[in-house]
C-alpha cells in the first residue's frame, strides 16, 4: 500500500471581487491530479508559480477539502479520517510566517508539542534534541520576533518534527535560508529518509530536487505534465546531451546550417555579453562536435564544452511545451 495515494484530485476556488457589483469567478487550481508515494520515498512536486502545488499539499494535510477526487495518507482518507491523518503527518512551509512572534522559540515548540499531544515527559528531551538538530540550541529562550528568516525557517522545521510524524510535507522549506543552511537542511531531510520517513517536497530549486528526490512530478496549470525519476525526466528532453559552443558574432544563416547537421535536435542561441552561446541538443549516440565546429569555420569560437542535460533543462523544456 502506498503512503500517499491521490486519485483525480480537483480543487477550485471561488473568488469574489468588487464591492457593489459582486462577481464570482471560479479558479480551477488543481485539475485532476493523480500520483502515489511509496513508504520511505522522497517525492518532489515541481511546477511554476500558481501551478497548484500548495493547494495539493493543503488538501493532503486536511486544511482544504477537495472539490472532487480522493486522497489517502497512510491509508486514511483525508476528508473522512482527518484526525487520524493529522496525528501522523508533519507540515512545514517556507517563509517567516506561522510562528508566535511574542513567544520564545521554546514556548512556541512547547505549545505545538501540546497541540500534537506529545506527552509532557517526552516533550523536554524531544524539544532539546530538535533544537540541536536545527542548530538553534542556546538561543531558544529569545523571542521569535528577533529571529532572522533562516532561524525562523529552522524553527518551523523543528516544529514540524515535534510529534515524530511518519510523513512530512515540506512546501519550499529552503526558501530564504543561506546556502550553508540549505545544505545542512538537505542533509537533515536525507537523514529523515534514513530512518524511514516519507517526504513530499516542493521546491523551485532544481538542483535541490535533483539531489534529494527519488521521484518527481511536474505540475503546471493544475495538471501533472510529467512524472518519473530525475534521470527519467532528463532523458525526456529532446537530445540527451548538450553541446555548448561560445562564439563571437554568429549569424542566423550559420545557425540554420548547424541545425541541419545529422544528430542535432535543436539549437538555442543565448546572448552572453559580447559573446553568444550555442546550446546544441544532441541525440545521445551522435558525435557532432567536429561537424558543428567545421560549420563555424568563419566565426571566432571560444570555449566548447559538452554536458549532460540538467534537471533544470528538462524542467524548462517540459513547462514550456505544456
Amino acid at each position: 500500500m502506498s503512503v500517499i495515494e491521490v486519485a483525480d484530485l480537483r480543487r477550485s476556488y471561488t473568488q469574489r471581487s468588487g464591492v457593489f457589483h459582486r462577481t464570482k469567478t471560479d479558479v480551477e487550481a488543481v485539475r485532476g491530479v493523480s500520483f502515489s508515494v511509496e513508504a520511505g520515498e522522497l517525492f518532489g512536486l515541481l511546477g511554476p508559480n500558481g501551478a497548484g502545488k500548495t493547494t495539493t499539499i493543503k488538501m493532503l494535510i486536511t486544511l482544504l477539502l477537495p472539490t472532487s477526487g480522493s486522497a489517502r495518507v497512510l491509508g486514511r482518507d483525508v476528508v473522512t479520517e482527518a484526525r487520524e491523518v493529522r496525528r501522523r503527518i508533519g507540515y512545514v512551509f517556507g517563509g517567516d510566517r506561522g510562528l508566535y512572534e511574542r513567544l520564545s522559540a521554546l514556548d512556541n515548540l512547547r505549545y505545538f508539542a501540546e497541540l500534537y499531544g506529545v506527552s509532557p515527559r517526552e516533550q523536554k528531551p524531544r524539544i532539546a534534541q530538535l533544537l540541536e538538530m536545527v542548530g538553534l540550541d542556546g538561543r531558544e529562550k529569545e523571542r521569535v520576533e528577533g529571529y532572522s528568516r533562516g532561524m525562523r525557517q529552522r524553527l518551523h522545521i523543528a516544529r514540524g518534527l515535534l510529534h515524530d510524524p511518519d510523513v512530512l510535507f515540506l512546501d519550499e522549506p529552503t526558501i530564504g535560508i543561506d546556502p550553508v543552511g540549505a545544505r545542512e537542511l538537505r542533509t537533515t531531510i536525507g537523514s529523515l529518509l534514513a530512518v524511514g520517513k516519507t517526504v513530499l517536497l516542493t521546491t523551485h530549486y532544481m538542483f535541490e530536487a535533483d539531489e534529494l528526490c527519488d521521484r518527481i512530478a511536474v505540475i503546471a496549470a493544475g495538471q501533472i505534465i510529467a512524472a518519473g525519476t530525475p534521470r527519467e525526466l532528463k532523458a525526456q528532453v529532446p537530445g540527451s546531451r548538450v553541446l555548448e559552443v561560445e562564439v563571437f558574432g554568429v549569424d542566423d544563416e550559420t545557425v540554420a546550417v548547424v541545425r541541419r547537421i545529422d544528430g542535432v535536435r535543436s539549437v538555442v542561441v543565448e546572448e552572453r555579453g559580447h559573446a553568444q552561446v550555442l546550446l546544441v541538443s544532441v541525440a545521445s549516440d551522435a558525435e557532432v562536435t567536429q561537424p558543428v565546429l567545421s560549420c563555424l569555420s568563419g566565426v571566432t569560437v571560444g570555449r566548447v564544452s559538452s554536458r549532460e542535460p540538467t534537471l533544470e533543462d528538462a524542467y524548462v523544456e517540459l513547462v514550456r511545451s505544456a
Partner: protein, 251 residues
C-alpha cells in the same frame, strides 16, 4: 493542554504593547463615566454597584475586541492553519485563547476599583468574601466563553472580526453592567437572560452588597457551560465550511 495554552496566550497578550495601553485607559474611562452618571449624591451601595459594573465592563471589552481580532491576527501570521492542522479538537485550542483574554480583563477590573477608591472615594466593602472570590472567576470564565462563541464565527468569516467591535457596547448595556436592567425596554430582557455575564455581574453585586449570589452564580456557570457546548459543536461545522471555502489563510 488547556492550562499551557491559556498561560502562553496570556504571555502573548501581556506582551502586546498596543493592547496594553488601551487596556489601561479604557476601563478608567468607563469608570469615570459611571461615577459621573450616578453622581456624588448617591448612596454608597449604588456607587459600589456602578463601580463593580464598570469593572466587569473592562473584562468584556478586553475579550470582545481581542477575541475576534486575535483569530484574524493568527490568520495573518499564518498560525491559524497550523492550529487547525493539529490533531487536537480545535475548540481546545480556541478556548484557552479567549479565556486568557478575559483574564487579562481582570487587570482592568482591579484598576477600575482602585480608580473609584482613590478618585471618588468609593470603598469596596465585600459582604461575603468567599462568594465574591468565586463569582469573579466564574464571571471572567463566562465572558471568555462568550468570546469563544464569537471567535468561532471569525474562523469561518474573514470579516467577522468587526463583529467583536460591534458587539462591545450593546453587550454592556444588555447585561446591565452600567445601567440597571429595569431601565431597558421589556423586549431586551430575554436577551439579557441569555447572556451569562448578566448573571455574573448580579452575583458579584449580591456578594459584595450582602444578598444571595448563589442562584445568579449557578445560572452564570450553567450558561457558560452551554456556551462551551454550543461552541464546541459549532466548531465542527465552522471548520468544515472554512476548509471548503479556503478561509483559513490569507493568500
Amino acid at each position: 493542554m488547556l492550562v499551557l495554552g491559556w498561560w502562553l496566550n496570556l504571555k502573548i497578550l501581556a506582551r502586546s504593547a498596543f493592547d496594553g495601553v488601551l487596556g489601561v485607559v479604557w476601563p478608567l474611562f468607563f469608570a469615570t463615566i459611571a461615577f459621573f452618571m450616578y453622581g456624588q449624591g448617591s448612596s454608597d451601595t449604588t456607587l459600589l454597584s456602578a463601580s463593580l459594573g464598570a469593572s466587569v465592563m473592562g473584562v468584556w471589552s478586553a475579550t470582545s475586541t481581542s477575541a475576534s481580532s486575535a483569530i484574524q491576527r493568527q490568520r495573518r501570521q499564518g498560525t491559524l492553519e497550523l492550529l487547525v492542522a493539529a490533531p487536537r479538537h480545535f475548540s481546545l485550542v480556541l478556548l484557552p485563547i479567549t479565556v486568557a483574554m478575559s483574564t487579562i480583563g481582570l487587570y482592568s477590573m482591579v484598576a477600575t476599583l482602585l480608580w473609584g477608591r482613590f478618585l471618588f472615594g468609593i470603598h469596596v466593602t465585600i459582604a461575603s468574601l468567599p462568594a465574591f472570590a468565586l463569582a469573579v472567576p466564574i464571571t471572567v470564565v463566562s465572558v471568555g466563553m462568550l468570546g469563544f462563541l464569537l471567535s468561532v464565527t471569525v474562523v469561518r468569516y474573514r470579516t467577522a472580526w468587526a463583529l467583536g467591535n460591534a458587539l462591545e457596547y450593546p453587550v454592556w448595556l444588555v447585561c446591565g453592567f452600567l445601567v440597571p436592567l429595569q431601565v431597558l425596554p421589556d423586549w431586551v430582557r430575554p436577551i439579557s437572560w441569555l447572556l451569562a455575564p448578566t448573571w455574573g455581574i448580579n452575583a458579584i453585586r449580591e456578594s459584595a452588597l450582602g444578598g444571595n449570589p448563589w442562584p445568579d452564580l449557578a445560572l452564570c456557570a450553567g450558561l457558560a457551560g452551554v456556551y462551551a457546548a454550543v461552541g464546541v459543536a459549532f466548531t465542527n461545522t465552522v471548520l468544515h465550511s472554512a476548509r471548503s471555502r479556503a478561509t483559513l489563510a490569507l493568500t
